[in-house]
Symmetry: C2
Subunit: 331 residues, 2 copies
């Protein structure tokens, strides 16, 4: 099967025939797209490399899902409506049809759920790697940025933190000898790693309410650090306020939680800064959008990230996961 | 050096500060871009993998140049004005600062020459691979597509064909024992492989004149085949009419030329179909745009690609280079 037939067979169902603003989708030198009038476009590219961004034993469905999810998470953090994406897929071999079918299935499931259309891309042979470029839109001036946080804003996060990092680290050690509750917990934590849910509805709900936002891909400490640097402010964060799932609570000791929740990465939740007067409205809006919003600290005029427990300063992570510093592959 | 510092140091000069429509460039979860009113957007993604799309000994400058050039060539074929691009760079190691500097230099040279701004992307560690997503614009309805060719149209190509394929195939065998003329020819042919010139000005000059267009990346036979399939027509092409460079003419025998010129790939010239009445105007416009336009055949109602010499049918290539069929790496 040649590369053109391969693309046609597995990705035809994802192409944006009839999708918003798609004048010409997959199959020419470039897609022809009609941007929505009066809107700005949000564009982001993220690459997943096998053995680095996902364990090599990850199911094809989950790789397809996650490759799109990490890009949609960036759009969510900008409060953008997803429109179109391009897929650059580098495959070691075209022999494994079932892998491709699974990959396209996972990618397609999330694409349909999110209302985003595949409009182009490239397929080539080489070490397994997926780069997706996603495009969204927002009415001019409404996109959420990193540089708008103000002293006094409440720092909040959606969902729960640390699940994916725990799911990655503990799997090998515990899975074989697990009881029923632990096995169920592991499955739930692993799902958080493999099939993160981009918080698109929450991001849209925060338009006009949040002063700054970022998605949590490298861990809270590092990602919040980007907001603080861009906004030229600091933050005081309560380590005990970080929201955790029941599975995470059951499978961790208190002392190990902060590292997993603040420096583990792969959460794909949103971290947002919200003026105190709008906090309640934001929490109601995010709950209505199917997520929850937990206050974890406050923005300060004094620079730097400071950690607290019950009002007392503690040592805590200052950096997230960094690809170019990690000695070993992330998984 | 962490990945953020690495990106800042080497790519800061390419970011679209002050570029057209860039409200927020590199450094947030997504770029914020303002599409030109009344225009459609053209979007394309292309990946280069080391050892497949360029020889492993290719200079960093040339890799940076070519990674952008192949995308700009797609925009050229659509008659689009370049606007913005995103760079997804996967690097085996961050230790080699001089490689990164060279890569950014080559990428930046072509970006500035083409008026396209770097607005985002991703940097990660893994086997060397570069995916660029390029965005251009064209007044609504003016983009050139593959599906507009009509029976009777003249088939034309810009520039010369076969140089890159010859530069790739002959280098190892001849370079060491070459005389001065041959050495100069090899350098010229290798430059065509390593630093292709996207025919952006020619593409823009063909707006309103061409009925269909495609860029030649996999070789004339395969790429023209895409136009014929999309337009539901055929073509009769004169093998002797294919334009060749002086270096190519000197370094080839007559019998080997057709395979190199029609199935060798990596030309990054444009193949366009033009109604006969507009041919002269198109040739003048493309010459004014710094290239040349050579008539090589005619579109026919009868499907299929037919090769001729002096009016007589001959056997000729029917396919271009295909990544998923090639047994060995392309280089």
């Amino acid at each position: 099967m040649d590369e053109f037939a391969l693309i046609r067979r597995h990705f035809a169902g994802l192409s944006g025939a009839g999708a918003t603003g798609v004048r010409l989708g997959v199959g020419d030198d470039a897609a022809i797209l009609v941007p929505p009038a009066g809107h700005e476009l949000l564009m982001t590219s993220d690459t997943l490399v096998a053995g680095r961004h996902f364990p090599v034993d990850t199911a094809a469905f989950d790789i397809g899902w996650k490759a799109l999810a990490v890009n949609l998470s960036d759009l969510a953090a900008m409060a953008a409506q997803p429109l179109w994406f391009l897929l650059a897929l580098t495959l070691p071999s075209s022999d494994d049809e079932s892998w491709l079918a699974g990959f396209a299935d996972g990618l397609g499931r999330l694409a349909r759920d999110s209302g985003i259309a595949l409009v182009g891309g490239d397929t080539t042979r080489g070490p397994l790697s997926i780069t997706i470029t996603a495009v969204g839109s927002a009415p001019a001036g409404t996109a959420l940025r990193r540089d708008g946080a103000q002293s006094g804003d409440v720092v909040c996060v959606t969902g729960t933190l640390g699940d994916a990092a725990l799911g990655l680290g503990r799997l090998a050690a515990v899975a074989t000898a697990a009881g029923a509750q632990t096995a169920a917990d592991i499955a739930e934590l692993r799902a958080r790693l493999d099939r993160p849910t981009p918080r698109l509805a929450a991001g849209l709900a925060l338009r006009g309410l949040a002063s700054a936002a970022i998605d949590l891909s490298d861990g809270l400490a590092g990602d919040l650090g980007h907001v603080l640097a861009a906004s030229r402010v600091g933050a005081a964060i309560d380590a005990d306020a970080l929201p955790m799932s029941d599975a995470f609570a059951r499978q961790t000791e208190a002392l190990e939680r902060l590292a997993l929740q603040a420096a583990g990465g792969d959460d794909y939740e949103l971290c947002v800064c919200i003026p105190a007067a709008r906090l309640q409205a934001a929490q109601i809006a995010v709950t209505a959008a199917g997520s929850q919003l937990t206050a974890i600290g406050v923005i300060t005029a004094e620079p730097g990230l400071r950690w607290q427990r019950r009002g007392h300063p503690i040592e805590g992570p200052q950096h997230g996961y960094r690809h170019f510093e990690a000695a070993a592959a992330h998984g």
